[in-house]
């Protein structure tokens, strides 16, 4: 609860400090201070040293699951700030406002991970989305950024409308917005419940860019400034997945058998479209966009399986995927040329960057001993334990193998091709943060229990 309040307040602090501090680089320092404060506060809340006695009428519940996820999201944001501090200053003049918007998004993330009524889900999703429309278009003179922002805005509010219709039909059928008070049983759902469920499934798939509602994602991710793409494709996406899982587990968990075929089809389609299209991309930024769709397909498996492995897996997957993707995008930002050829010979010009990027890409592929492997393993185990649609697990493994094609193509460009990859100058903070990211990925890969045991303290 305090994390929600503090992140919203810190957004305001960021905006006001824009008036008092003229130097752009101060913004990064204040933002890092804020996110460190958020991490400390949520750690204290997690260990129940801090407790705010507010009567929120049961609209939010702060379980260990949501608090652990918030910690993961905050840690990823801290790393994201440390890696991209210098890039924020290059996007435009309103550096303080960009950070402020990101803090507002963080407060939205805390809401969607702990919502208990559909009202809070709606507000949380909107608090996340509206600042993102602005961030996507923050490069005001660039036409591609404008178009990305407009497209994201139109598609985002369209899906909001669909989500609202779903919420309203559920309300009509059950008479309550509380996801625990709906008492939807195992029997065949009433028509209004069924409509509400399908509309909500479609709207949430829109938000997490799962096929067939993914068509906005590549264009938006490609057009937005790269640092905001890396935010959208990682922290925002996994937070939406946690909300997705929470909604479908709590409200529709009992009638799981009725709708799991839909989730299975969406997961399979997302895996297929994401992976196959990513193979044919020429630009690394676009490849990473499609790869984020492909990874969303893997996370959809948790919505399909809905068991303890799914819940533990989604936490692991959020950490593994966010860290690796943020790292990979941070390396991309430092390159002068975003195409695959631009990475040729990075081993010679900057061996450190090449090694770090290799670790991130291996984790995204799911090579053992990396966090990506253990996360994918949990997703697959969950799918198999679900007991239905065994083909889905096999299909997912096949698609993970295909994903190696485009990730390894980048590694091949860096290590085995002749070329002269041009890199922007790297600061010490950047190098240290990159090292920490890679260290965390290997740590989670080697000791996933640290994260999982935190769910059951």
């Amino acid at each position: 609860m305090i994390a929600i309040i503090l992140s919203a307040l810190w957004g305001v602090v960021m905006m006001f400090s824009g008036i008092f501090f003229k130097r752009k680089s101060t913004a990064g320092i204040i933002a890092v201070l804020g996110i460190v404060a958020l991490i400390i506060v949520s750690l204290l809340e997690y260990h129940s040293y801090l407790y705010l006695p507010l009567d929120i009428k049961g609209m939010l519940t702060f379980s260990a699951f949501s608090q652990v996820f918030n910690l993961v999201a905050f840690t990823c944001t801290l790393i994201y700030f440390l890696l991209n501090a210098s890039e924020f200053e290059e996007v435009g003049n309103d550096v303080y406002e960009y950070y402020a918007l990101i803090f507002f998004i963080l407060s939205g993330i805390c809401i969607v991970t702990s919502f208990n009524t559909l009202l809070m889900l709606f507000l949380g999703i909107e608090i996340i989305s509206i600042p993102l429309y602005i961030l996507a278009g923050s490069d005001k003179r660039n036409l591609k950024s404008n178009e990305a922002s407009l497209k994201y805005f139109l598609m985002g509010s369209f899906s909001t409308g669909i989500m609202l219709m779903g919420i309203v039909f559920l309300y009509g059928a059950t008479g309550t917005f509380h996801i625990q008070g709906m008492h939807l049983g195992t029997e065949k759902p009433a028509p209004m419940v069924a409509i509400g469920l399908v509309l909500l499934l479609a709207a949430m798939s829109f938000k997490v860019s799962a096929a067939p509602f993914h068509f906005w994602a590549p264009d938006v991710y490609d057009g937005s400034p790269t640092i905001f793409t890396s935010l959208m494709a990682t922290i925002i996406k996994v937070a939406s997945f946690v909300a997705f899982l929470r909604l479908f587990d709590t409200a529709f968990g009992k009638m799981h058998v009725q709708w799991q075929i839909l989730a299975a089809i969406i997961a399979a389609a997302t895996l297929f479209i994401g992976n196959i299209t990513a193979v044919f991309q020429q630009s690394v930024k676009r490849m990473l966009s499609y790869s984020s769709i492909a990874q969303a397909g893997f996370m959809m498996l948790s919505i399909f399986s809905l068991n303890t492995f799914a819940k533990e897996g989604i936490i692991l997957y959020s950490a593994a995927y966010s860290l690796a993707s943020i790292g990979s995008f941070a390396v991309l930002v430092k390159m002068k040329d975003y195409s695959f050829e631009g990475f040729n010979g990075l081993r010679k010009t900057n061996p450190f960057l090449a090694l770090m990027n290799t670790i991130f890409l291996l984790s995204l592929t799911g090579i053992p001993l990396s966090a990506g492997f253990i996360a994918k393993y949990y997703m697959l185990i969950g799918t198999v334990k679900n007991g239905h649609y065994f083909w889905l697990a096999i299909f997912a493994v096949l698609m993970a193998a295909i994903s190696a094609i485009y990730y390894f193509r980048l590694i091949q460009a860096m290590y085995f091709k002749e070329g002269n990859a041009e890199v922007k100058p790297l600061s010490t903070t950047y190098k240290a943060a990159l090292l920490i990211t890679a260290g965390l990925i290997i740590f989670i890969g080697a000791f996933p229990n640290v994260l999982i045991n935190a769910l059951y303290n």
Partner: protein
């Protein structure tokens, strides 16, 4: 009027909105269609809220069932207003760069 009339009206408005978003090329009109979708849900929300209230008030005259539905409408209005302010700003930004509000411009991103 029964609840079915309200459902048909709202769903019709909602579908007009969806068709408008999918077929029209003018950004402002697409925007209006999105607002139409949101307002269709508002209408249905109020109708359902009243329905639940009438059903509950038969047994308990002082019931508060249904108030949450009415409250939700206010939140939708507030969020829609926030979306309008951001959306119009984006459209203006777009217009400054392209001198057009035609969505077909968006196809440039495809390649």
């Amino acid at each position: 009027m029964t609840i079915n009339h309200y459902i048909f009206l709202s769903v019709a408005l909602f579908c007009i909105g969806i068709i408008g978003v999918l077929t029209r090329r003018n950004m402002i009109i697409i925007f209006m269609c999105i607002e139409l979708m949101l307002n269709a849900t508002n209408l249905l929300l109020v109708a359902f809220s009243k329905m639940h209230y009438l059903a509950a008030s038969v047994t308990d005259a002082a019931t508060t069932v249904g108030t949450d539905g009415q409250l939700f409408v206010f939140f939708i209005m507030v969020v829609a207003a926030a979306e309008v302010s951001v959306g119009l700003a984006i459209i203006v930004m777009m217009f400054r760069n392209t001198h057009s509000i035609d969505v077909n411009f968006l196809n440039r991103l495809k390649h």
